[in-house]
């Protein structure tokens, strides 16, 4: 049995855990605090991981910080919903607004590998038009990126994460074959397929970041169904088992259990390094560049907390947009009961998908959505039953007993950016003495219209397969985006297309917070692709002497 991953940092003494081998280690280069490294990357998730690998492989000295532990999946991960909450960012955050966001397992990770350690592995490309949704579709904001360039990076990300997917994808421009074959459908996914066919809309096996054949040191997925609670076999292609090991091999250092609390500014208007808490003390790591990759809550929190007399509103915030335009995605669902045994807990939770309404614009609201098959485990299922139907007592127990016959469809929907939805600093402090984030959120009329449309469509699909006792889960959200948007205009954005802040040339932001709009698909593949692009761009800029 390995040591407690929370007790002491594991990546020390010139070595880091070999996640593929019980008790194994891999060598790790280390840098001293006093030596200015080329890059500090704050966060090791879908944004930080590819940056660490790409920059180290490009010959830069780079240190990745993560507030969470360095897990060994083979030894640390139980098959248990409650125990595995240890993967989530469960430190206090205050939520308010008309529709407060439930923070935790559905949107925040705290581990080396970030949220990808517990994500549902759904790996989708944006619809091309979404990169210009303001000028082409008439809502939201344009991205400063060209979809054709992104299409190449998506391909590279799909290769790097060994995505298992269908032979041909039914929507959008052509894309190359997925590296691994699609996974077999479970009962819940079969019902999504039948419902879609009855409605005359397309469906497909979901492209997933868990391998369907042995790949590298990963065994094929065994369909445990605990994907959202950490993969104990390493079939899941999280950052922890893909880009992070690559980064270590290329000479990057990872510092686990290391909370960055403040970015330090020099008198010349450039950042000089980061203050971080590790092993019971505050330290200062010197750096020539800092890339913040802490996702849509921790990224603005750090930028705001690093305010100085010269930057009283926080760093990179001359636009006033740091923390603003927070977006989540609508994650409503419709559930029903089948006569057959579905046993929806088997396999990855979302084995089939329809993106029909992401590509069909005949609707009276902006944005799009997809829906996927569902397989909530008992604790999540009781949360749905209680929060959607207000059940408790005998009524709750009776409903829960129908577990193996339940079926459901859950949307991932686009919510529109709104400056009133934002992250600020609350007065109360966390265990490090840092002010906690206050997350304020309310749905707009367009968001509500989109949700209503999706609920109606999903209900039609469930009715078409003969589900009874249908009910709606009307209040749920998941992924995050926004709070440090990218753009072409320094007055209207925080970073440029290279994820470089407009205000401070050696301060960068590269994670989901740079999204100007959030699209109607899960964001992780887009974050990964942009991080791979950013690493390439930094190499190009460095070669030109423009860093």
């Amino acid at each position: 049995m390995s040591s407690d991953p929370f007790a002491h940092p594991r990546a020390t003494n010139g070595r880091a855990p070999d996640v593929f081998k019980r008790g194994g280690w891999v060598p790790m280069r280390q840098f001293s605090d006093a030596e200015a490294v080329d890059f500090v990357v704050v966060g090791t998730g879908a944004g930080g991981g590819p940056l660490l690998a790409g920059l180290a492989e490009g010959g830069f000295s780079v240190v990745g910080f993560d507030a969470g532990p360095y897990f060994r999946p083979l030894e640390d991960f139980a098959s248990d919903e409650l125990e595995q909450e240890k993967l989530y960012w469960t430190d206090e955050r205050v939520v308010d607004g008309a529709n407060p966001i439930t923070m935790g397992g559905k949107n925040s990770g705290k581990a080396v590998g970030g949220s990808t350690v517990h994500f549902a592995m759904v790996s989708l490309r944006f619809r091309p038009e979404w990169f210009k949704s303001r000028s082409v579709l008439g809502y939201g904001a344009d991205w400063p990126l060209d979809w054709r360039e992104m299409w190449d990076y998506y391909t590279r990300a799909e290769q790097a994460l060994s995505i298992s997917g269908p032979l041909s994808y039914p929507w959008g421009p052509k894309r190359p074959r997925y590296p691994c074959r699609a996974h077999e459908l479970n009962g819940a996914a079969q019902l999504l397929a039948r419902g879609a066919e009855a409605m005359g809309i397309k469906w497909t096996p979901t492209p997933l970041a868990t391998v369907s054949a042995p790949h590298g040191r990963s065994p094929p997925c065994v369909y445990r169904g605990f994907c959202r609670f950490g993969c104990s076999t390493n079939a899941k292609q999280s950052q922890l088992v893909t880009f992070i090991p690559r980064a270590l091999r290329a000479g990057a250092e990872i510092r686990d259990l290391a909370m960055v609390g403040r970015i330090e500014m020099g008198p010349d208007g450039r950042v000089t390094g980061v203050h971080y808490h590790r092993g019971g003390h505050w330290h200062f790591q010197k750096a020539r560049n800092v890339i913040v990759a802490g996702y849509a809550i921790e990224t603005p929190r750090l930028l705001l907390a690093s305010a100085t007399d010269r930057y009283p509103d926080g760093l990179a915030n001359s636009s006033g947009l740091v923390g603003k335009n927070l977006m989540t995605q609508s994650n409503q669902a419709v559930f029903g009961l089948m006569q057959q045994e579905v046993r929806w807990n088997k396999g990855p939770p979302s084995l089939a998908i329809t993106e029909h309404w992401n590509y069909d614009d005949r609707k009276d609201f902006a944005g799009g959505y997809c829906w996927m098959a569902q397989g909530p485990l008992p604790v999540e299922w009781v949360t749905i039953q209680t929060s959607s139907r207000g059940l408790w007592g005998h009524a709750l127990r009776d409903e829960m007993e129908k577990y193996n016959h339940q079926v459901g469809l859950k949307m991932v929907g686009e919510m529109l950016p709104d400056e009133r939805n934002r992250v600020t600093l609350a007065d109360e402090k966390d265990r490090y003495g840092l002010r906690v984030a206050r997350v304020t959120y309310g749905w707009g009329d367009n968001d509500k219209a989109l949700i209503e449309h999706a609920l109606g469509q999903m209900q039609t699909s469930l009715e078409a397969v003969g589900a009874t006792d249908i009910f709606r889960q009307e209040d749920d959200t998941n992924h995050l985006a926004g709070t440090a948007r990218m753009g072409d205009d320094p007055a209207m954005s925080v970073v440029n297309a290279d994820c470089r802040s407009w205000d401070i040339p050696n301060l960068w932001v590269c994670d989901g917070s740079i999204f100007p709009t959030t699209g109607g698909v899960n964001p992780s593949l887009t974050i990964t692709s942009i991080a791979m692009r950013t690493a390439d761009r930094i190499r190009t800029l460095a070669a030109r002497g423009e860093l």
Binding site: M1, S79, V94, V95, R224, W392
Partner: protein, 214 residues
């Protein structure tokens, strides 16, 4: 009501390929939860016990899942959710205040402690709490509806459905590492999954099969 999955015992799989070492340790710890409160006072403990009995009433013919113990453990260990509604205090304080509020409401409505009321009276007060209708000095600024939705319900029901006894009731396969599952489609069951008794005739057969689910 007859068991839907008669004789199914998820713990029988403890030494199979469905349970790895860390899972065994986690579940052992869960089953060994201390039954005495570390956080709650004796008075609060009585109110909490009665509350848990109404949120998830349990049959008398088996050992109950010790729900108050799990609520106490969560607070005593400082296990947080990752978010807190701005109108709710920290979880320890919310529970103190909420149980005091419930007790005060009970005294006011029925002239007795919550744990001494009839089940109907208790349920009546809980419905009021669920719909935001309990007020009084004991609640302070805390809306009783938020306390019900974000403390009472999740803290009690999550503990219940994270317990092997509940998994047996609903026929959940429980831990599944590293074996996982093989038969994925509709109406397919792996031999290490629970067998459901159809009303009446198949109960004996289900019982026999479930005693071999390992």
């Amino acid at each position: 009501m007859a068991d839907r999955y008669p004789s199914y015992d998820v713990l029988a799989k403890r030494w199979t390929e469905s349970w790895n070492e860390v899972t065994r340790k986690v579940i052992d710890r869960r089953l060994a939860v201390p039954r005495e409160p570390r956080f709650f006072s004796a008075t609060e403990w009585r109110t909490l016990g009665a509350l848990c009995d109404r949120i998830l009433p349990q049959p008398k013919d088996r050992a109950p899942v010790p729900l108050p113990a799990y609520v106490d453990q969560k607070i005593a260990n400082g296990r947080l959710d990752g978010y807190r509604y701005a109108k709710l205090p920290q979880q320890d304080e919310a529970w103190r205040q909420g149980l005091a509020g419930l007790e005060a409401a009970s005294q006011e409505a029925h002239g007795g402690s919550f744990h001494t009321l009839s089940a109907e009276q208790q349920d009546g007060l809980l419905h009021c709490m669920q719909h935001g209708e309990l007020t009084g000095a004991a609640w302070g600024d805390m809306p009783c509806k938020l306390f019900f939705e974000h403390r009472v319900i999740p803290d009690i029901t999550h503990a219940y459905y994270a317990h092997p006894t509940a998994w047996n009731e609903i026929g959940f396969g429980g831990p599944a590492s590293p074996r996982g599952y093989v038969r994925m489609g509709l109406d397919r069951r792996d031999p290490w999954e629970a067998v459901e008794a159809a009303p009446g005739k198949e109960e004996t057969q289900a019982r026999r099969k479930n005693s071999h689910v390992v």
